[in-house]
């Protein structure tokens, strides 16, 4: 005789990744670091954006990069030229970074540097519009890039990443005159599902719009540091 039973679990499928992400975030908070998770499809311009960002903000913020989007060391080498630590994570054939991989990067940072000296960690995710959106890595803010060459409808077709983004950069706008594309429509499509997202159309090539992005970064780092300071006072 067999009797049938049910055990209610009610556990999120991603709970292990989520717990790892919370753990990573606790490390960042302890060190006073703001972490941005930078996501886009391949070729939207993440690495060049990081180059410009580091070049512009290196004097005022101490920056480190955790580099997941690499088939070779080429991207990491490009960024190291700017004199910031670049921790390259071997993602293998993985289609996204997960919190465990980033934890490995954080431990390297901790082993080789004094983590409390850093203000900002930029995590460059694997180029992919689908998977990275479901796997938090311990970031405080999510940044999504969409290049004008990808088309206006991508946010509607791949909504999760755009719905969760805190900041959207519409990249390669220097190409817009050669394309049949409406930048306001891209922004409108994202706002349909994420009305509070900060949006900046930018061109890393001409520099247009980058100041808005740099200001956004300064602002979130500042806000994060103030809220951590407040939290430590109230303890």
């Amino acid at each position: 005789m067999h009797q049938t039973f049910e055990a209610g679990l009610g556990i999120n499928l991603l709970h292990a990744n989520q717990a790892g992400a919370d753990h990573n975030r606790a490390h960042f908070d302890e060190w006073g670091i703001t972490c941005l998770n930078i996501m886009s499809s391949p070729g939207a311009g993440k690495t060049v954006l990081l180059e410009k960002t580091i070049a512009a903000l290196n004097d005022e913020l101490k920056i480190a990069v955790i580099e997941g989007d690499m088939t070779t060391e080429l991207d990491a080498e490009r960024l190291r030229q700017y004199g910031v630590p670049v921790i390259a994570i071997n993602t293998g054939r993985s289609c996204h970074l997960d919190s465990k991989m980033v934890a490995g990067g954080i431990h390297q940072l901790e082993g080789q540097y004094e983590p409390k000296e850093f203000d900002l960690v930029l995590v460059e995710n694997v180029g992919n519009l689908v998977c990275p959106a479901e796997f938090e890595v311990g970031e405080h803010f999510k940044v999504a890039l969409l290049s004008v060459t990808e088309g206006e409808d991508k946010p509607l077709k791949y909504p999760i990443m755009f719905q969760e983004a805190d900041c959207l950069l519409i990249t390669k706008i220097d190409l817009a005159p050669y394309l049949d594309i409406d930048i306001d429509r891209i922004a409108g499509n994202v706002r349909q599902m994420n009305p509070h997202v900060a949006i900046a159309p930018v061109s890393a090539k001409t520099g247009e719009g980058l100041d808005i992005w740099f200001d956004w970064v300064r602002q979130v780092v500042n806000r994060q540091q103030r809220s951590l300071a407040l939290a430590s006072v109230s303890k």
């Binding site: 049938t4 055990a7 679990l9 292990a16 990744n17």
Partner: protein, 118 residues
């Protein structure tokens, strides 16, 4: 293929539960709820589960996936609506953006059905 990673997480979670049961019961079915507004494709999940459970304590176990529709609530109209994934997310009546998601983001191991001999 992030479904592969999710299946790995699923199997580990169920294994933890199973090992915590003194009788090591025969599991017959694992029930998941998967929201429509997630990056998870149920067919891929089924396939990954079939492959990864082979020759394990979960071989032959049924994976039942309940899909949950995306339902949003429009604060202005005070009404629920079903956004058309891939096409439009704003409220069909007043064009307000989708802000309040009522369902569709679930990714949950709901329950395990198992048999115990008596």
């Amino acid at each position: 293929m992030h479904e592969t990673d999710m299946t790995k997480a699923l199997i580990l979670t169920v294994k933890d539960w199973w090992e915590s049961q003194p009788e090591r019961p025969q599991i017959s079915c694992i029930r998941l709820t998967v929201g429509e507004f997630t990056c998870v494709e149920p067919v891929s999940l089924q396939f990954a589960f079939e492959v990864q459970s082979r020759n394990t304590f979960l071989q032959g176990v049924r994976l039942a996936i309940d899909e949950i529709p995306l339902i949003a609530f429009c604060d202005r109209c005070q009404e629920e609506y079903r956004p058309e994934i891939g096409l439009r997310y704003a409220c069909p009546q007043c064009e307000s953006p989708m802000e309040n998601i009522r369902s569709g983001r679930e990714l949950k191991i709901e329950k395990i059905e198992y048999a115990v001999g008596v």
